[in-house]
């Protein structure tokens, strides 16, 4: 029997395999993300999370589903979008797991794979933000709200009118966004950065792609298997 077969308790479908590899790629960009393997399923993350009541999969279950090899449920969950990234879970985790950063990685993966409903709120907000940033270099909040609600729910914009008027009355809304002076070079920096990915090592992903269960992100196992 091959050594991988002993350590790997389950076999994954091709689709699941692809998702798993992409997820591990995202994870490798997070310093110390291999701590994910040391989860003891204590539930401190879920207990600390202020929004876990609104989630379909609790933060503790996020880790266990990853172990069980069910990336697809994770990417389709409401959990990854409802996370407010307050970092309470990550701060309290007794195993030093980067829970919030892992959820960020799932968010990016879901966007990369286009897994979200059309005109999905979080995605639309981020996209509108990026659009304004790229053309001004600075954010203009009223414009962000207008772009965002035009994409998701234009009628909602009317409900913001009373608040908007109060803000205008107190001189808290500027009509024109301020622009940075060196916009040309700023856009050059963005253009160049878009060509890059976060740095990561491809080697590890090769071994980990079929692995589910406790050995899933284990550098030590990787080294041992290489020696043999």
């Amino acid at each position: 029997m091959k050594i991988e077969n002993i350590r790997v308790p389950g076999r994954l479908s091709q689709k699941e395999l692809d998702l798993r590899i992409s997820f591990l790629r995202q994870l490798e960009a997070v310093p110390n993300s291999e701590r994910i393997k040391s989860c003891i399923q204590c539930g401190t993350c879920t207990g600390s999370c202020p929004v876990s009541y609104a989630m379909d999969i609790s933060p503790r279950e996020v880790i266990s589903l990853f172990r069980a090899g069910d990336m697809e449920s994770l990417l389709h969950s409401k959990t990854i979008w409802v996370c407010a990234s307050c970092y309470a879970c990550q701060t309290r985790c007794p195993c030093l797991i980067k829970v919030t950063d892992i959820i960020y990685a799932l968010k990016r993966l879901a966007m990369e794979k286009n897994i979200y409903p059309p005109n999905f709120p979080v995605y639309s907000l981020s996209k509108s933000f990026v659009k304004i940033m790229n053309s001004y270099g600075r954010l203009h909040e009223p414009r962000l709200l207008v772009y965002y609600f035009m994409k998701t729910n234009p009628f909602k914009l009317f409900s913001f009118m009373p608040l908007g008027l109060r803000m205008v009355k107190r001189k808290r809304i500027g009509y024109m966004p301020s622009k940075i002076k060196d916009l040309k070079n700023f856009q050059k920096i963005i253009k160049k950065a878009e060509q890059y990915d976060m740095p990561r090592s491809v080697e590890e992903v090769q071994y980990l792609k079929g692995a589910v269960g406790y050995g899933a992100v284990d550098k030590q196992t990787l080294l041992e298997s290489k020696k043999q």
């Binding site: 309470a88 270099g137 060196d182």
Partner: protein
């Protein structure tokens, strides 16, 4: 003392009161703020969830410009503070990321060599200026003010910064030094919902309501915060909270520099308190808003 100052987008428009009050308080204490030249938006969390490396690159542009000015970089907005500090930390931990980001910055004729210290104004006031000097410069003691100190998430987490992550005390110390009372406030580092207010409003309203409710129940007559987004959620959506939960909260939400400015003898106009949406409270009879 000299510092490079990074106001950030929201302090330029919707939270100009924070901007004004930080500048007033710092100059009163003899600290010079030099605005970062041609700064750009830090990218906030939105960019980080679309394409991470672009987020790092645009945040690093600010750091690269700040590096030329040699002073510590002061960022009052919690989001800017945390993103700039995170960019610095990640570039330090991942040398390969530093190389790539620097290649991007080269396109704009810049480079960043990890020589900038990102600071929060609260950190500067407590650790550089010191409580003794602040007490010395105080003209009015703020007796009668019962403050709920709300720190929010981003200045205390995820990494250990200048204060404790579960039980921060810097703001409490600051205000007890100028004669205000701090109420017992266990919600001080709970999340207000942040950007969820635009995406999952029901969730964010519940979180914000709990923060105001706790302050009311503990006898506070104002909430003081360090974060523009928290201030916005707690203040501008208070009517919405009242409508949703059948409550009748009228809790004024101040920035910590606004309260400090009042103690130093600045008027509410100078500190931008007249721009707050909720009604102010009387302090010593003379210092009041509206």
């Amino acid at each position: 003392m000299d510092y490079t100052y990074f106001p950030g987008c929201s302090l330029e428009s919707a939270h100009c009161g924070y901007n004004d009050s930080v500048k007033k308080v710092f100059s009163h204490l003899g600290c010079n703020l030099h605005e970062l030249e041609d700064w750009n938006c830090c990218g906030a969390t939105a960019y980080m969830s679309v394409k991470e490396i672009v987020g790092f690159a645009i945040a690093a542009r600010n750091l690269a410009i700040a590096e030329k000015q040699k002073w510590d970089l002061v960022a009052p907005c919690s989001s800017c503070y945390t993103i700039l500090a995170k960019t610095h930390r990640h570039m330090k931990e991942l040398p390969e990321l530093k190389d790539r980001v620097n290649k991007c910055l080269m396109e704009g004729g810049l480079s960043y060599n990890l020589n900038v210290k990102v600071r929060h104004p609260l950190d500067v006031l407590i650790n550089d200026v010191g409580i003794d000097k602040i007490r010395e410069k105080t003209k009015f003691t703020l007796e009668g003010l019962k403050i709920a100190n709300y720190y929010g998430c981003q200045i205390v987490r995820p990494e250990k910064g200048f204060d404790d992550r579960e039980e921060p005390v810097t703001m409490d110390n600051l205000f007890s030094a100028i004669g205000a009372a701090n109420v017992y406030y266990p919600m001080k580092v709970k999340c207000c919902g942040g950007m969820l207010m635009t995406t999952y409003e029901d969730v964010a309203l519940k979180l914000s309501k709990e923060i105001i409710e706790c302050a009311v129940n503990n006898g506070a007559n104002c909430i003081v915060t360090t974060c523009p987004l928290c201030q916005m959620n707690l203040e501008a959506y208070q009517d919405e909270i009242n409508n949703t939960y059948n409550t009748n909260y009228k809790m004024p939400i101040f920035f910590f520099t606004q309260i400090l400015g009042l103690a130093f003898g600045f008027t509410d106009k100078e500190l931008g308190i007249d721009k707050n949406l909720t009604e102010g409270i009387k302090i010593n009879g003379a210092l009041m808003h509206q």
